[in-house]
Symmetry: C2
C-alpha cells in the first residue's frame, strides 16, 4: 500500500481518493470490453484486445484486472446492479415491475451477452461458475424478497417453494430471449406473472 | 462424386453404402469432440485438438466437417434427437414425460454443454444462431404437438398462446439447470406442469 502510494506522490501527501486519470482509464477499458463482448463474445475480451481498442496500456489493465474474468465481471455487473426496483408491497405490481427489469436486462446488449457468456463459461471454468452464482443471487434477490413478504402475509401459500417460484417466473423470460431468440414486451411479463398467480394465489 | 469414389475402389465397383472405416473415424472424431466440449467448452473443439485426441487425420476431419460448427452440431444433435417421447393423448402424462426428457438432456454432460455453447455463440455467430434455432425447433416440436392436440380437444383454452406455453413449461427447467446451477428430479417437472395446468386447465 505505501509502495503504491509512494509511486503517485511524495510521502506524507494526504489521501485524495481515487486518481481521476485511473478512473478515466478504467471507464475507457470497461467500455471497450463491453463492445468486444457484444461484437465477438467473451473469448474476444482479452488484455491485448482491450488495450488496442481503448488506448489504455496493457500494464495498467493487468494492474486493474489480473484476470480477464474480473474485467468481464466488472463490465457486466454495473448494468445488473442498477436494474432492481424497490418493492411497494403490492404483490402483482412488484412481480411485474421486478421481472420487467429482468426483461430490460435481457434486451440490453451488454447484459444479454454477459449472461450468454457466463452460462457457457460456468460449465467449464470455476471462476465463471462463481461469477454466475453471484449474478444469479444478485439477480434473484428482490424477487425472493417480494415472494417471501407475500408468503408471510398469507397472499401466497405458506409452503411455497421460493426457489421453484423464481424458476417459474424468471425462467420463461430467460428462455424466450436466450433460447427461442425472441424480443418481447411487458405484456409477456404480465402473462407469466398472471399465470403464476392464477396457480398459487387463486383467492386474490 | 465420381472422383471421390474412384479414390476408394476401381471404377465400376457397385455402391456398398458408407465405407466402414470412414464411419469408424467419424464416430471416433465425434467422441473426441464431445469430450473436449465437456472438459473445456466449444472453443476447444478445433480440428487440431480433435485430430490429436482421436487419432483421426486432420485432412479426414476437414473432409467430414469443413467448419468446426458442423462438428459441434453433429456431436450434440444425436443426443437431442433420441430424447423425445411418443405422446399418448393424456395431457398431464405427456407433458411430464416430454419435459422429463428435457430434464434428462439438461443433466447429460454432452447436451448440457452443447446447449451452453450454442446459447453463447448464437449471440455473436450467425452459424450458431441458425444451429440454436434448429435445436430450439427440434427440442420444442413434441411439446407443441401435445399442447395443440389438447387445445383442439378443449382441454386447454382455445386462445392459448402455444409459444408462451412452451416458455412457461421448458423455461423453468432450463433456468434451474443452466442459471441456478441446480440438479433436480422428476418431482420438479411435475410441479412445473401442475402449476401450468392449474392456471390453464382448472376444470381438469
Amino acid at each position: 500500500m505505501s509502495t503504491s502510494s509512494a509511486a503517485y506522490g511524495p510521502p506524507g501527501t494526504p489521501g485524495r481518493g481515487p486518481d481521476p486519470r485511473a478512473a478515466r482509464s478504467r471507464a475507457a477499458a470497461l467500455a471497450a470490453a463491453q463492445e468486444l463482448l457484444v461484437e465477438q463474445g467473451w473469448a474476444a475480451v482479452t488484455h491485448v484486445a482491450v488495450a488496442a481498442r481503448s488506448g489504455v496500456g496493457r500494464t495498467t489493465l493487468y494492474r486493474h484486472w489480473p484476470d480477464t474474468s474480473g474485467m468481464l465481471r466488472d463490465a457486466v455487473v454495473q448494468r445488473i446492479q442498477a436494474a432492481h426496483i424497490t418493492p411497494s408491497g403490492d404483490l402483482r405490481a412488484d412481480l411485474v415491475g421486478e421481472l420487467d427489469a429482468l426483461r430490460r436486462l435481457l434486451h440490453d446488449p451488454v447484459s444479454e451477452h454477459g449472461m450468454r457468456a457466463v452460462i457457457e463459461r460456468a460449465g467449464v471454468d470455476p471462476v465463471f461458475a462463481r461469477l454466475k452464482q453471484e449474478l444469479y443471487a444478485a439477480g434473484s434477490r428482490v424477487q425472493r424478497e417480494i415472494l417471501e413478504r407475500a408468503r408471510a402475509a398469507g397472499e401466497l401459500p405458506a409452503d411455497l417453494d421460493v426457489d421453484l417460484a423464481v424458476d417459474r417466473l424468471a425462467g420463461p423470460l430467460v428462455y424466450r430471449r436466450l433460447l427461442a431468440g425472441a424480443e418481447f414486451g411487458t405484456d409477456v411479463v404480465q402473462a407469466v406473472v398472471d399465470g403464476f398467480l392464477a396457480a398459487e394465489a387463486p383467492r386474490g
